[in-house]
Symmetry: D2
Subunit: 298 residues, 4 copies
């Protein structure tokens, strides 16, 4: 079918490419001329602006928004809500907070526009392996866009999980779990590394992918990372986060659900980014006060 | 090659079966007559006692010990150390603490007997899929027994990780990671369940195995568990532990390694087994003292 | 000086009483006739309504709002903002979220009314020992109301901590710390209780208040609780929360500050309120799948 | 009464001084001549060796051991067990693990020597304020030495908590709690510091000691630390530990007691001492693999 892909970065570009490979007609827009040209060479129909991209579609228009989370997503979706016609479909495949998706769904609905939130997992591997899609939105619109979802996803890798917002909600929890998985592996390899036994970490990472209980796609990737860089040389122990982890903790707390592992995984990322812990300074000062314990000077 | 399998429970029985399937000669011993007979029917050579099992072997004798952790493992291995001849090989494939394995290795070595600790992962699926084997021990003995390891394991699923003790050490950390992975999934599904969105948990478990970042063997098993029992009916939220998790925490602490996720996973198991938290009683009593906050009576 | 106290519950009633004891004129209002009468007998000037309470004051009117957090606080403050005159002062001494206080401060300011947020600690002991007051608001209004603050507080127990919102912010963090302190004591006494040593918990609670590093006001209260009820009989291990703990975690996350202890204290409260952990159900089901580990049936 | 104080460091020296102030006869020994001379000037009877210190006592001899934890404590106590006569009393006031104290108690008992473990809290303030003493040991010996305990402690600051080992056990848990309290304050002040509100941390530390729920001796010390050094200038956020925290976690795990706050406080100390988290390196490498997330280079 025909759709527009707005945003041709690492995710949107690959998704457009995958859709083209599956025979869809994809109008492509990105502020970067280079990105547009890249997709045009693959068969995409480049647009010079969001408005032009819309013009190139016919009713019901389907516009997939794949731009960075934050103001640009908000602006793009608001523009689409104002510009599209009743019956048209907006799909937000980005890392939006599900509360925003619920709100945007209502705002779109007031103008008769359908809004779908498509939580997307798979990262840079999605182009070849397919993207796991967690889709929230009204039944009919989801049904209309389904050929897109099934071609973006691997077999059984697409699910209409519920009403608007539920797609990004499920994706958020997915990422929360991911934080915990990553931290579990991280701790394990740190314990192995600190051991007196001379453990070969790359070999263990590879080994565990064959028959062990902890085998997983992430562990395959870790084995791959170790193959490329056995000592993780020049890799700084500094871990960013793109928001879903903290949102997961917020929701856990709102639901009164204890989520120690997901939360501690988030806090470990915070700690990795601190030059020094002020809390530790306070404790060092206090231990000196009550026990005369030595302060390590800066 | 020829070896004796001591202990024919869930793990030892399946391992003997897998070795027989791969053409090895396996002397089998277990206090249970039924277990011995089951393996005899598959081609195992039953022994009536540990002593008889040893007699049926010829030098260098290889004895695989697969009995429950604790006193029975200690007794079996001590008997073997005293009974076997120099050059014979004991392999402990059970859930022993690596400190015990290091000690047993020394005790065996004093009598010229080789001791190998083979950390084994794979659970009930190992029979068909192979066991991931993390093997510690002296080079020559490990080399001698290698045909056993390679046939028990799937391809690339066996590694000689280091000296005596290192096999059980790596297996211990493996299980520590497993605790963290399980808890990460557990928390995620609890957050999904507590949501106002009507999420179909079995479908999400299945979905995430197709293209998502969190796909793993454990998640495939969870999808399977949900297929069998979508509401987890009659499954009590009570989680046992068999020791490796706590040992992992002990070692992390001994190594000065922060391991919040593995530790909190262990504590969550403890909490699942408590009727009531005494700590919570103390806090409830205290909140009443300072703030007049209501005590919920028993 | 003269002021109105709106809300004569456990906190407001005691605060009105303490102000009367210090010679202030206090107009008292509460929907409960009994509460009004109780304060009237102590010298308070009862009002039949919020409107009447305001009428009984003269410019600049000072109205202290001490009603339960939530809708009733919002409604009361909005009414006051609409009713009071420029130059009048609203003081919110309740458990409001500081973000609400910042907003209410702006709304009040637009009508020329001064808004002060007074974080209040001390609980049921404040009447006799004084309330620790963390006050946020514009300098001049805080200065005007200062005689009230200094008489409600014990010596040095009042501080103007910053602009509007900062009072409730500091109070929120105070409560977050309190969660951690409570949980630290709770865990310690649970470890003592589970020991094979026959430790007399009430005696240890009392002992530690004399010369030990962990002595504190909370520990004095715990010793008191144990004196009244040495076995904590009938005290259910069920711990409520009134919001400040979760807000503290939210702010820690917003600030990228790791706060494991405060957060785990909150999660322990959540767990104390769960009949059963769904996460534990998931893990129990999974362990059965991979290892054949026994499920405990419900 | 008469006793020997072995070890005249920060703790032992002050304790000898306090006992001399209370009229006891104290034989003092320390390898440092200067330390011996200091106590001699206060009225202590200096000994040139452990053997000479014992000679200066008469039956039943009471020897208080206050030397650093580890080999020197072990050696000193073993020498005393071999040297003293039946009926004599050894008191270990140091930071020994309670398992060692239980063992030493048995070893002493075999020679008829009494062994008492006296957990000691109070730090550098004990000289003037008294030491909180948690004493384990046989009734009669504890009774004999009681005048020492009551004079070292403030009023009600001494308790015979149970049999040998229980003194150090209770002290261990005390320190575990202390870890949690310190971390709770540390986190709170870090959250205050990271806020956009311009909070004056030293003033808040002082404020909270007056009427707030979180007031405590530690908070008084923190206020003192801030008075001396309002910005904690030159105080590195690096926190040592002397063992009791990790022992508390070990015992919690042995008892199946969840102790998240005490454990996370310990892990925060570990993290404060790491240049970089290897776990974070692993996660950074992994995030790059699956999502193309940028690695921060070293």
């Amino acid at each position: 079918m025909k759709l527009a892909m707005i945003g041709l970065g690492r995710m949107g570009g690959n998704m457009a490419e995958r859709l083209l490979q599956h025979g869809h007609q994809v109008v492509v827009f990105d502020p970067s001329d280079e990105a547009r040209q890249r997709l045009a060479k693959m068969g995409g129909e480049p647009a010079e602006s969001l408005a032009q991209a819309i013009e190139k579609l016919s009713a019901p228009r389907i516009v997939w928004v794949m731009v960075p989370a934050g103001k640009i997503t908000e602006d793009t979706i608001q523009t689409l809500i104002q510009t599209l016609n009743p019956g048209d479909i907006i799909i937000d495949g980005g890392n939006s907070n599900f509360h925003d998706s619920v709100r945007r769904g209502k705002e779109a609905q007031e103008r008769g526009v359908h809004f779908i939130d498509a939580g997307t997992s798979g990262g840079v591997w999605g182009l070849t392996e397919g993207y796991c899609l967690m889709v929230g939105g009204p039944d009919q619109a989801v049904h209309t866009a389904e050929p897109i979802f099934t071609d973006l996803a691997p077999e059984n890798g697409y699910l209409h999980v519920g009403p608007v917002g539920s797609g990004h909600f499920v994706k958020m929890v997915h990422n929360g779990i991911e934080y915990g998985l990553l931290q579990a592996y991280g701790e394990g390899f740190e314990i192995l590394k600190a051991s007196d036994f001379p453990i070969d970490l790359p070999k263990v990472a590879e080994l565990w992918n064959h028959g062990s209980v902890v085998r997983s796609w992430l562990l395959e990737l870790l084995a791959g990372a170790y193959r490329e860089n056995p000592t993780l040389e020049h890799v700084r122990g500094y871990v960013d986060d793109s928001g879903e982890g903290r949102w997961t903790v917020f929701e856990a707390i709102n639901e009164n659900v204890p989520a120690p592992v997901i939360t501690l995984s988030l806090f470990s990322r915070f700690a990795s980014r601190q030059e020094e812990s002020y809390s530790a300074k306070v404790i060092a000062a206090l231990r000196n006060q009550f026990g005369g314990h030595k302060i390590h000077n800066e």
